[in-house]
Symmetry: C2
Subunit: 396 residues, 2 copies
Amino acid sequence: MNLSKKILQIPHSPIRRFYVYSNEAEKNGKKVYQLNIGQPDIKTPEVFFDAIMNFNQDVLDYAPSQGIPVMISAIKNYYARYGMNYGDDQILITSGGSEAIMFTLTAILDPGDEVIVVEPFYSNYATFIIAADGKMVPIASIAEDGYHYAKKEVITKAITPKTKAMIVTSPGNPTGNVLTSAEMRMICDLAIDHNFFIIADEVYREFVYDDREMASMGEFEDADQNVVIIDSVSKRFSACGARVGCIITKNAELYSNILKLCQGRLSAPTLEQVGAAALYGLDPSYFDEVKNEYEHRRDVVCEELAKIPGIVCKKPAGAFYVTAKLPVEDAEDFLIWLLTEFDDEGETVMYAPAEGFYVTPGLGKNEIRIAYVLKEKDLRRAAELIRLGIESYNRR
Amino acid sequence: MNLSKKILQIPHSPIRRFYVYSNEAEKNGKKVYQLNIGQPDIKTPEVFFDAIMNFNQDVLDYAPSQGIPVMISAIKNYYARYGMNYGDDQILITSGGSEAIMFTLTAILDPGDEVIVVEPFYSNYATFIIAADGKMVPIASIAEDGYHYAKKEVITKAITPKTKAMIVTSPGNPTGNVLTSAEMRMICDLAIDHNFFIIADEVYREFVYDDREMASMGEFEDADQNVVIIDSVSKRFSACGARVGCIITKNAELYSNILKLCQGRLSAPTLEQVGAAALYGLDPSYFDEVKNEYEHRRDVVCEELAKIPGIVCKKPAGAFYVTAKLPVEDAEDFLIWLLTEFDDEGETVMYAPAEGFYVTPGLGKNEIRIAYVLKEKDLRRAAELIRLGIESYNRR
């Protein structure tokens, strides 16, 4: 039996094959600093677990397909704090931001429809877009320019009559790029003029540094038929395993059609929604603490990376990633070498090679993504190991 | 912006529009017996909640994309008990059986590929198949014959060069039909001969009555490249809200490709997997108790329904549903009448009209599905209300 053409087109996880080497390295007694995944190390707030402990129904029943009322209400309150007002029938709770994106794409893409993405992009977008029959149209952004892409002429060039949506991730994974309100406004104007959806993946919303404003595509009322916000508790509250996300849109036709998919899969997890709703009850000062911690880590990791001769790395404005261009030819080959040949006092380091974040062949070959989800001391050491590794690798 | 052709084709939940009427009836003080949804009222075993209470990680992190090891291991042990042996790389934990079916269909269906389904079918199959670009090819089964369909000539007629899969639900929702081992063998032979996948939805596996054998498509080793088992803790352990299901297949290519989708959505919920794994540790006698309870309820509901002159209702062999043909012209119209015009001592009843379980136009118009998920006394009263309602409705 043949599998579907779309599934065969979907690439394997770009990081997965390197685990073979890191597992082997660890088995041989090497310590491997993991900079490769966006799994925060910040404690999940107690209120999450407390709410779940207090769940006292005898039967763990299906949640309503659109989400439990207390969760929808928590999200409404959170957005209202930032001047964005949504009704109960404009929010759909999903199993993580991932399901939110999958359902949105399924609802809008016919075979051959185009989705504009910014290279380098969150690699799972490729999985979701291909699975939904769509075609990725990449816009390039480069390390030398701090991966800045939000220029009208650049985006306009990518728009065709087949453009159905643009995925806008701000703050961005993997680059940490953050859009200003003016840049968002410009993208909204393009979406209105050219009649496409903006899939605004804003799961890192709070993680913007250097006193930058926290902007959202939800702020532009004249674009409210175009905008679909993807959100999640994963990064905001360090609760990745909860798998609670949501779709927010004022487009009633889109809402009503995505609801059909939500009803098809019955519900998002009940208990985890109970816990997630409690997270939104935290005082907003919670975000300040977490943000300060990540901002400091960003400064630390950038300071250390700057010591590497020939690296191209502008300080990113948000999220908890740095993408950088290394003075090596092939970052994948260098990573395998780090894991198999290199160590400094029994220690080495793992990052995500960035080639998997591009669809354009040849791009990203010497770029890497670092997730700064370790404590300061470990981050400094991990960056140092990259530096020592490069010296040794380029001397071979 | 246009939505996708596929999403527009997906029907709205066939039960949803009747909630308007039942909510109104309840607001007006009527008691409405709910026979319309498959939400068990059996207590979720304590071990589920205990395991979650004992979760003591500070950070609720992503589970591995294929599932947490303790969950995969629990499923292996459960199947081994029935002589079916699976390896770690033949099981993928999903967010409920729903995600399991969606991912499987996405992995095998190209536009226009056909999936054989048995009418009446679990209506969400339509959502999943259309979303994955497939086309449903129905096989009819009828009330007079107890919805029996597993005849070689009947299934063979539905097979075409475009047949990519057959969904086999045993025990069945909505009919309670249960396949014998010989019938499963026959379907496996057809799948091997005609080169299609069997998507074996066996989430009601334990619910087989009258000392029938509990059979599984996983028992036929020569068909192991064709068979994909869909399973879930929802019904088995009365834990619908956990959203923990799985895909089981010995087809390595299929496994490896579905894994790409699992990696794309990162993980199924972590805590719920911890709880679900504990459920599988229950002594198998747990199933006996639950089965006896449902078997008794089936007898009760069938006994009461048999009192309705003109009803066609054979006693089903499994699951917790009865589908029956009522002596009315239109079961949807009758339901609306029950909710808006009828009451007996302030009480009325709600069921699922079966028309939404058919794709063939005109079929199922006077059929209904009853989920016997209430206690005996309530079940008797609910069935009585249908009988009294019909008498009154047909006298109008």
